[in-house]
């Protein structure tokens, strides 16, 4: 039984399912390698060379070097894995999550203090909330 197609109809959200997991396998396993300090050092010393040791696609490597979390997610990354890159860069989870919204760090933090992003208009693609992505791959 494949996953309910309604999971694909939530705006601004990528569901990490078996398909994304297959696509992002080595991207995510590369991220896991950053749990070890020695690997973090080697990655920081020469990102390209370190990435070339992994069976990742060129798009995935470019997305990592650009620290484009939305692109990494689209290419099969999962946020709990990708957060290891953020930890390597000394970024908090709030900074990472905020960076995917197009908001400034300050605006995102203020939004959270004021109760977070509203669900209204953000349940389904095509509604009119602030998380809608009209160009989402349909």
């Amino acid at each position: 039984m494949s996953l309910d197609k309604e999971f694909k109809e939530i705006p601004g959200t990528i569901i990490f399912d078996a398909e994304q997991s297959r696509k992002g396998y080595w991207l995510n396993q590369f991220c896991m390698s950053l749990m070890k300090a020695a690997n973090r050092e080697r990655f920081k010393a020469n990102e390209r060379a370190y990435l070339d040791e992994w069976k990742m696609t060129e798009d995935q490597k470019q997305a990592v070097m650009a620290r484009d979390l939305n692109a990494m997610m689209a290419l099969g990354g999962n946020i709990y894995f990708l957060s290891k890159i953020g930890a390597t860069d000394g970024k908090s989870f709030q900074q990472m999550a905020g960076s995917m919204t197009g908001m400034s760090e300050e605006a995102y933090r203020d939004m959270m203090i004021n109760g977070g992003r509203s669900i209204e208009g953000n349940r389904r693609i095509g509604e009119h909330g602030d998380a809608q992505r009209p160009n989402k791959d349909k």
């Binding site: 996953l3 309910d4 309604e6 999971f7 939530i10 705006p11 601004g12 959200t13 990528i14 569901i15 990490f16 399912d17 078996a18 997991s21 396998y25 995510n28 396993q29 991220c31 896991m32 950053l34 749990m35 979390l69 939305n70 997610m73 999962n78 946020i79 709990y80 894995f81 957060s83 290891k84 930890a87 390597t88 908090s92 989870f93 709030q94 990472m96 999550a97 905020g98 995917m100 919204t101 197009g102 995102y108 939004m111 959270m112 203090i113 109760g115 977070g116 992003r117 669900i119 953000n122 349940r123 389904r124 998380a131 809608q132 992505r133």
Partner: protein, 284 residues
Amino acid sequence: MARITASVYSSHIPAVGAAFDLGKTHEPYWQKVFSGYDFSKQWENEQKPDVIFLVYNDHATAFSLSMIPTFAIMTGPEFMPADEGYGRRPVPPVIGHPELASHIASEVIQKDFDLTIVNEIDVDHGLTVPMTCMFGKVDAWPCKVIPFAVNVVQHPVPSGARCFALGQAIRAAIESYPEDLNVQVWGTGGMSHQLQGPRAGLINREWDNDFLDRLIDDPAGLSKMPNIDYVREAGSEGIELVMWLIARGAMADTRGGPKPKVAHRFYHVPASNTAVGHLILENA
């Protein structure tokens, strides 16, 4: 015989652990979070549980994509707090209860819940942050812990109904253990939060509070809610809340006993990206 005296529900936000470890609990932002656990620390002092059956999820810490067990019970004697990239949290090692854990595994596997059995694993913030919230700063945790991990990272994750039924099987297993033990069952994670994409920062206060109401009064009905509803209404990471149904399924009223007493209820937004929810239910 072993008895389940209470169930505890709590978010397990990593930033809460970091704030505690860095001594920030009195800063106004964090004080609002930790104040929700003042009652709970006092309550645990009085309850003196022998064992906590602690349901949590691993966040790409011990389980990578190389292994993704849907349900895993930890039957080992000791578990270290994991290094999640910022060094190990300065909290004590977790002492397991191999005999009770093996008994539970044996019982529920024979009731067709096909658990993975794990003996060596480091436990991440999903387990250690609720321990810190409930017990504060200690040299050693005051009781034993059986960690129980649920896959809520790669979909499909188990349904609320499956988690609820599993909780009921775990209860029967614990209550058939011959030693006189005071056991608590904890469900952790949630509440509403989304950590990814343009919808990151989603909080759904109304849905969260309705979830708490239904968890207390109508857990069987709540367990029928499909996973898509969690993700749509409570955010992609809000799906962690299915784990609370394992703990709720372990309460006496799910098999004809009296309704539990609500000893404590707390809700606060935000801690980092997340809504903090916390509930204590006591078996009558």
